[in-house]
Symmetry: D2
């Protein structure tokens, strides 16, 4: 293990100071849940088995079109990023995988990268292609689109890049390719809507054809940005149409920030589950647009309601296997702190959703007893599962309070010395 990571003894010392209160809180929570007929140990086991992927781009400081304000000790390359991810996983124990972004994470030796990850106890989740920005020495520009570009050579370049990503993913043990394109238009008339969609489908089919048999292709929709009048895969309807055209390995990825105001996202999740097309999630939160704020930081109940759909479907035996990823932009916080906190928040929502009394809810729904139904959800959401989450971390070797332990470790100050600031920095944002 890298000498930069957190000292296990320090974590243990940190935990020691909190052990007795966690014990007392956990015992009381167990008693409360017991009264409701819930075995806390079974809940704990399921929460312990839950993980959410870290986006490699998330460990750099993000920015807006107005400015980027770099943080200290930002990762310089994918190995630095992996190390930061390892710290997150060491302390919070909820993020066993990393999702890479190509070309941002390109390196010369994928096998070395895989080995390094493995030494950190990390594996690789879905790999993300990037055809929304131009790279140096790129033959064709994506200014006017990529998979849906009017120019065949540009489309071919974008297809080839995606296939390249699959190859990289195979080398790393990934099992999925996430495809998000910024294609769209800024003016009424700029783009022929139907033709652009057809070109997208044609390109996507070529990528799909290159997909290994046990892989998934995850299509990500977005209402706007960077295109500001229309986008090619603007909502789950278009995403579903595309996934259906492509075939069974293509599914729809839901990024919580990619919808119009007021849209009921948990309902979309339910529709995609029913249609067998839910690929998974990019978790984040937002108040105004695709703000990529920390998951659950603004609307924690909404995050819970999404998990309520997932837990309900699993409870009812629906066959589906969503991928969980964070996708955030950290402009004013230390990315490591944000990612640990967000992972715990996602875990919290999952844990709370497990507490819903499904039989009682079914009965209330059948009886159109809206008051009881909503009380049942609130009863789960209002339960403070903190001691359960603390205990899960504790058992897995993590820290009871990950942010406190992280701050105490001095990790950021250490890497700030080792990683001199680079002009431009590494803070790619998605």
């Amino acid at each position: 293990m890298s000498t930069n990571l957190i000292d296990a003894g320090a974590i243990a010392a940190h935990n020691d100071t909190l052990l007795s209160q966690v014990g007392s809180d956990y015992a009381h929570l167990g008693e409360q849940l017991g009264r409701r007929g819930i075995d806390i140990e079974r809940v704990r086991a399921r929460v312990a088995a839950f993980g959410v992927a870290i986006p490699s781009w998330g460990v750099g400081t993000g920015g807006t079109r107005f400015a980027r304000f770099p943080g200290q000790g930002e990762p310089r390359h994918v190995f630095d990023k992996l190390q930061d991810c390892a710290v997150i996983q060491q302390l919070a124990r909820a993020t066993p995988t990393v999702s890479l972004h190509i070309p941002w994470d390109r390196c010369t030796d994928w096998s070395e990268l895989r080995q390094t990850a493995s030494s950190h106890g990390l594996a690789f989740d879905a790999i993300n292609s990037n055809t929304f920005s131009d790279q140096k020495d790129q033959a064709h520009s994506y200014k006017f689109g990529s998979l849906s570009h009017t120019d065949a050579a540009t489309r071919a370049q974008a297809v080839a890049h995606n296939i390249d990503c699959i190859e990289i993913g195979r080398a790393l043990g990934s099992k999925a390719l996430t495809v998000w394109v910024g294609d769209g238009s800024n003016f009424p008339g700029q783009q022929h809507f139907r033709r652009a969609f057809d070109r997208y489908l044609d390109s996507a089919q070529q990528i799909y054809a290159a997909l290994p048999g046990d892989w998934r292709m995850m299509l990500e929709h977005k209402i706007c940005e960077p295109a500001f009048y229309s986008t090619v895969i603007q909502d789950w309807g278009s995403s579903f149409l595309a996934a259906q055209t492509l075939g069974p390995k293509a599914q729809c990825l839901v990024d919580l920030g990619h919808h119009a105001p007021n849209v009921n996202i948990e309902l979309i999740v339910a529709r995609l589950i029913a249609a067998g097309k839910l690929a998974g999630f990019h978790f984040n939160d937002s108040k105004y647009g695709d703000d990529d704020l920390d998951a659950g930081s603004v609307s924690p109940y909404r995050l819970f309601l999404v998990f309520n759909e997932l837990v309900a479907a699993a409870h009812e035996g629906v066959a589906f296997d969503p991928a969980y990823m964070l996708d955030q932009s950290h402009n004013v916080t230390d990315p490591i702190e944000s990612l640990m906190t967000s992972a715990v928040q996602v875990q919290r929502s999952f844990a709370q959703a497990l507490l819903v009394d499904r039989a009682a809810l079914d009965a209330a729904q059948d009886a159109n007893d809206a008051m009881t139904a909503t009380h049942l959800l609130k009863a789960a959401f209002q339960t403070d599962v903190t001691p359960l989450l603390q205990r899960v971390r504790l058992e897995a070797g993590g820290a009871i309070d990950p942010v406190a332990a992280y701050r105490a470790s001095g990790y950021r100050q250490r890497v700030a010395v080792q990683r001199p600031a680079v002009a431009g920095g590494s803070g790619g944002i998605v």
Copy 2:
């Protein structure tokens, strides 16, 4: 013809005063279009062949949950409504059909109704079922849903009502059933999303099975209202899923006011055209929600952009046949004036969309010349096609200025005497 309708001599006199200026304006517009390579006569012929259906409920004064302020001389029953529709058609000549709403328009002799319509020169468009409000002596309440209700007997009642509507429609010469349900929920947890959707599909399949071979079933989606947390057919994605499940005769109806803020509706139209599932439109406008304002009264360019998609698809030989209906609620205007004005506004958008230089637009789109592309749309939209629309009305026997002619006719004052105000009134709102 009913003696209540507008005196043809008065219309002619009205037209006489404006004839020379229409002639001059039309000639100059013809010259302008000629310079752009457009034959005004061909445009005029297409506009003359265009019609949009009047919703029978639109001729009564609408209201909000806070109050309804009745107007004068409101129609008391479907025969009064038909008469108002006939006035609209007589003056504006853009609304040859009427769309009924059952049970609001129930009568004892459908054959007489059809004959009366025919004597007014009117035919019947899609018939609308109503399972979002309870009728007197109804066995089961729709308080908690209709086609998706948890109770089988309630669902059966709603199915039977829809089949009844089909029967009425057959008697009247309709060729389509529009199904909009208010089903949904007001609280998180109240409704099991997937089961409610399944129940909806099951009910809809029974209706679909009763559909005559040459009919269409038009599914209308809506993001919210009267359900305020979730709806069963909340967006075009769910509508498409349902239509696809039902079969080729089922298609998706787009009501312009039924979407989340900011949503690009013309893009949805393009997607539905491409998927072969565009049923047609409920035209209206809105600033905040489903406000059912007069078509094009707030966002005329948006209405134009919708027609731009329709004209483009037709131009490219896509096979589709959208139904055009107005669906408005007139709270502060005389409904007859609003419906004439809205019909003309819809006609205007169609005419303007016909002026787009398709070949030049294709070239600009292929070249990613966004500026030229958007200029081409604006050039069409900025063209004042008023003289063309006036001429179309003139040729068809209508009034050059329908609202002025209507006001001069004293029709409203006349029917105000004949139609005493009834408590509750006829102002059903959708």
Copy 3:
């Protein structure tokens, strides 16, 4: 006390079954809070002193413009409404006052009404005028506005009604008049924005002049509905301008559902506090528009953030005295259950806001430590204060679980017999 109210013995019996678990939970919560330096007894005392007013119109079933589905045993008049309010207060002990709506609550003997309320342990909060619907035999219609109407006689009538409301309020012991008008327009051009605002100000000044010295005039803004293109007091900016023009007794009332999508309401609350113009609240929740859903049922964290502003300002010694009212429309639940639940939810948010470590928050804010700051809020919000609220009710003679006790009481079934359904019903909605 009315014989219809809940039997005290039944409440006691209900409580007995839950006493021991409340005791255990409360003790553990006290221990947890103690660790955080919080004295649970002090929090409890403050929560016990907190109350939120019930809107008289809330005990009837609401509806939408599409339909109203009446409930059982709906109140027939203000005395029935008072009785339902008394039940709410008896069980939940968080709603010591009632807010009336004139003319819906008009009666022939205000003194008898006041005495009845008093016998139920209830007092009267702000009185609400209604100039957004027409009453029978009203001389001038509000179809085109009230306080801002173009016609002086209509404005005078609306002013007189408000002054009448003040008189009624004086008779009942109210200390505030809430003025919400539906005035606005549905079409661009319909209304002269500046003149309408001036007329509103002129009318409001006449009402203000009639205000007793110790009264407040609460101005309620709303972005839309029933007017759908513009409203006269459309946002807090216009409300503030009006309140400032009127004088110190005029302040701005915040209804949580009356804003544009995405708007940060807690920030508006902070601005109004700072400007000395916060009148108080109409609590409810919403997902799409002014849906008047149960407070905190969709966005509980937002409700907490509003209370966080209030508690912070009080903590810092800012002089202000907000009025708390519920304003909901209950379409699918028993209104008594919804109002009890909502009152408890509001109380919960207040209790949670009291748990925020203000000194630590100040320090984090000063240090721009966003992560710690937001953790501090979440720590308070995630605390399950249920046992504290249960204990508050218990001490005050209420029920530990108000909805369960209410259902067990059979109150609704009893009044269903006594109150035959009336056509039209009493379900006025605001």
Copy 4:
């Protein structure tokens, strides 16, 4: 004049080919307007006197947080920018002033800059400060705010920068300072709302104190971005509070893209006019957020409605003097083409608003004749004033079709040679 600018002979030749059709169209428009009692020459004179400022940052290619795709021949410094502005003005004749942004436009010799501008026939409009991004060698970072920062030294630095901007503006002949800050927060709790506002006011007062007697300070509000949970001047209400606190020289600037979804911007304009606090505009358009699209490219009727308020107020003798500026980000078009087109679109809206029959509108509004009122606005908006705008340009020495003349000139190709692409480029975006 610089040899790079457009050849006057070429413009004349371009115009010659279109002269006769402009003559014919103008004559017919004059006839049409004459019928409506409007003297086309008077309208033309007012339009000819109208100008809108170009933002210096607008001539560079914009971008998003995802990528920036540079254009050809981008300006390298403020002198290049001025030259591009001169081309815009030479061809479109609607943009006699330029609005600078400091430090982006910093140069070593302001007197030379002013002289150069003058030689191009250009003057300087409001000067814009920038405290939303860090500059090299800046002592204090604006990562956590500027005028409202918790740290006094950072605030002092931001104040000093604004005062420096005033000095630069004086040297250039500006008469206004536009202050927009990105200050706000990304997390609930991060910022103390009231204290941050107080600090903002305190800083703004220091800047205000340094304002020359004949200057204005224009405060720009924005709902979000770059701060994503709250902003310090989030809406016109906060902007008004600040302007009122500062004094008569402080006013509120309205950027059309800075509002919540659905907000009625023309109504805000009316409120600010009435309150004597309308500073002016940043014109652009948007579909989803602050997309900075070309003015009127998505919602041309909305732009017209804004001008309708301005023309009405002027017509009624209200004393106010709004500043007109474009503020756009050109990501997919040649900025020169976009700015010419947008200036003409703004001019078009002004011209159309001049055509509204004010007396008839007053009468319709007084009579609550919504239909006539809205018809009057539509009659003005539907009038194709293109020939009038062409004639205005012609008389002023510009091009009848500015984009066509520009493309024919080869200007972009010429400067592409002279201005080698620089890494990072000059495409600052606001």
